[in-house]
Symmetry: C2
């Protein structure tokens, strides 16, 4: 088994399934539960890597699909890998490209061999097989690679979902075989099974066979109602081995993070903080703030009085509104830094609460004091 | 006379009119000759103020016209002034709004009283008088305010130019009368006179009467050929008092900076470094670099091997090209920082050369080694 990653389970909350852990990769430690900012195109949008690091982030996510198409993984490899290319010295997780091949690729066609798709950039035709995904991720040199899977859309019928999860398992086997740089990179498997609990169980049992260093729960937050998502998630974590990190892909609203942690999830990622920022939206301890609002025209206080980020220490809401209204790049820069800091810092508070066996209390405090987020 | 600003003439180059000086304002010292980055809308585009400071910049420029229209100078005043509003603690110079009223204002109409214009933002009608310009600049709280003038377009006939410069002098008188915050803010006069040397002289003699702490040469670089610009500039500096700083507005290409310094100019400003950056253009010691060019696809060396800026210490041309091609904000951020550092650092080299009486030698070295810039 890979020594590229270790996971220590440090503490289990006395009153919930929330867990406090620590992942160690060749690029440092990652305290869990963790929120991972997304750097799709080898940059966390509108932030310097040093500013990402200042938010407290210990790992970021890179997107295999985007980097495969541009600049090309050979270029990133020749540059010395993604860490060096983008000047980020902490850990990196790369997705498999599977999700984007399905969601962004045009004319996609799935076969047992892999997925044929057209580039969203120029319409050029490509084939991505499990082996290709691993080859690209090997070029990128991420600390954690994800297996190439099919993210089943919602809704999907039982038959399709079962066929798909079984193919995802066969693809996982091919990923494992194609993965050779085990000294430096670890490979996580991905559970599928749609909204069918028994299929989730089946998928989990199949991927556990490979004794991988970590597992993700894929195919959630793909359009299903929140209640259904939480119901499915409720059992999923228990299907996965306790001694391995568990990762729910693509969720990043505060409520989903709390609900995930409560169910024993350790890792999350989402483009939300930086995307909201570019649209003039801030996540604050008093709820979401629309910085465009005229009521902030003369609001000379910081965005969030409780926040210690660079933005809140140095700028007023009135200034941030002015920047947004003036279409200034600094608006996206400051709000991205704030929002990323907000989620990373919220996770730090969650970790502390777990250590003190008061996760549920903290969750109630958070919701009561700040309102329940829904985005 | 205002104590808000002092100017020391430290050294005169033995072989040219180049001068080494030091301006002191309430917000610190400014070593001259100096290049001032432009922060039109209360931000140097795509840069945090701390990053502007790291380039070595000691003074930036803010635009009265833009800030008057958005967010409104009353809001900046209520925020505690422009320094506090935008989190920049070193010196600020504000222009008078005159240039933009003419170049950006629609339906502008000049009378003895002032200028009527329509906002470029929403078409709303405004009147700006010399007294209004000073009131706005007082609200902004800049260290150096500029008198409200008419920047005569090129070409302009002699009669119009003469009438205009005389009105500019009458407006200067009104600016001086309207300027009360003399403890904290100093007011510079602006020489006009178009391309007519005798009118330049006439303008200079008129504005010198006011014994202001500094003087600018306006109405240059407005479309005239470079040779003509330099010919006019050749005499202009000598018309102004030696013991006061001299400022040529709106020029920022390396060649114009060298030529201006050689003629005894102390201060310059231009949007060029940040504007070029947003278009993927870098100023480097080897000449201008178009980062979009395919030849940089696998160029893993820094943008400029001689440069010590954050961008050149941490990123490759290949990465910068990738960011630009991917339409990533970080592209503008990194190139803006590099270009601003380049010009600010070039001025530091010029200052050192003057101190050592080898300005002309350094100029030749710069041109020989790096090629003559024309932009």
């Amino acid at each position: 088994m890979s020594k590229a990653l270790t996971f220590e389970l440090l503490h289990k909350d006395a009153n919930s399934r929330a867990r406090r852990g620590r992942i160690t990769t060749r690029h440092g430690t990652i305290e869990t539960p963790v929120f991972m900012p997304v750097g799709t195109q080898a940059t966390v949008k509108a932030m310097k890597p040093e500013d990402v690091e200042k938010t407290g982030a210990e790992i970021i996510l890179g997107n295999t699909y985007h980097l495969f198409l541009r600049p090309g993984s050979d270029i990133v490899r020749e540059a010395g890998g993604l860490h060096k290319f983008m000047n980020w010295n902490k850990s990196i997780l790369t997705d498999s490209g599977g999700f984007q091949v399905f969601s962004l690729g045009q004319m996609r066609k799935i076969t047992e061999e892999g997925v044929k798709f057209q580039s969203y950039l120029d319409g050029s035709r490509h084939m991505m097989r499990p082996e290709d995904s691993i080859a690209v991720q090997t070029d990128l040199g991420s600390d954690i690679m994800m297996a190439f899977d099919e993210c089943v859309p919602y809704p999907a019928d039982r038959r399709y979902t079962k066929d798909s999860l079984e193919r995802t398992t066969r693809w996982l086997e091919r990923c494992v075989k194609a993965h050779h740089n085990t000294e430096n990179q670890s490979l996580f498997g991905i559970m599928q099974g749609g909204m069918y609990k028994d299929l989730r169980y089946e998928s989990a049992m199949q991927i556990r066979e490979f004794d991988l260093p970590g597992y993700a729960i894929g195919g959630l937050s793909v359009g299903e109602p929140k209640e259904l998502m939480l119901e499915v998630l409720d059992d999923c974590a228990d299907y996965l081995p306790e001694e391995k990190p568990r990762y729910v892909m693509g969720v990043g609203t505060p409520d989903y993070l709390f609900e995930g942690v409560e169910r024993g999830i350790d890792m999350f990622d989402c483009v939300l903080p930086t995307r909201l920022a570019r649209h003039g939206m801030a996540m604050t301890s008093c709820g979401k703030v629309n910085i465009k609002n005229k009521k902030w025209e003369r609001a000379f206080e910081p965005l969030d009085a409780e926040c210690t980020c660079y933005c809140c220490r140095n700028y007023s809401k009135a200034y941030l509104r002015h920047l947004y209204k003036s279409d200034e790049i600094l608006s996206s820069m400051l709000l991205s830094e704030h929002n990323t800091h907000f989620l990373v810092n919220m996770m730090a508070n969650i970790r502390k609460a777990i250590e003190e066996d008061r996760f549920l209390e903290y969750k109630r405090e958070f919701y009561n004091k700040y309102g329940e987020y829904n985005d």
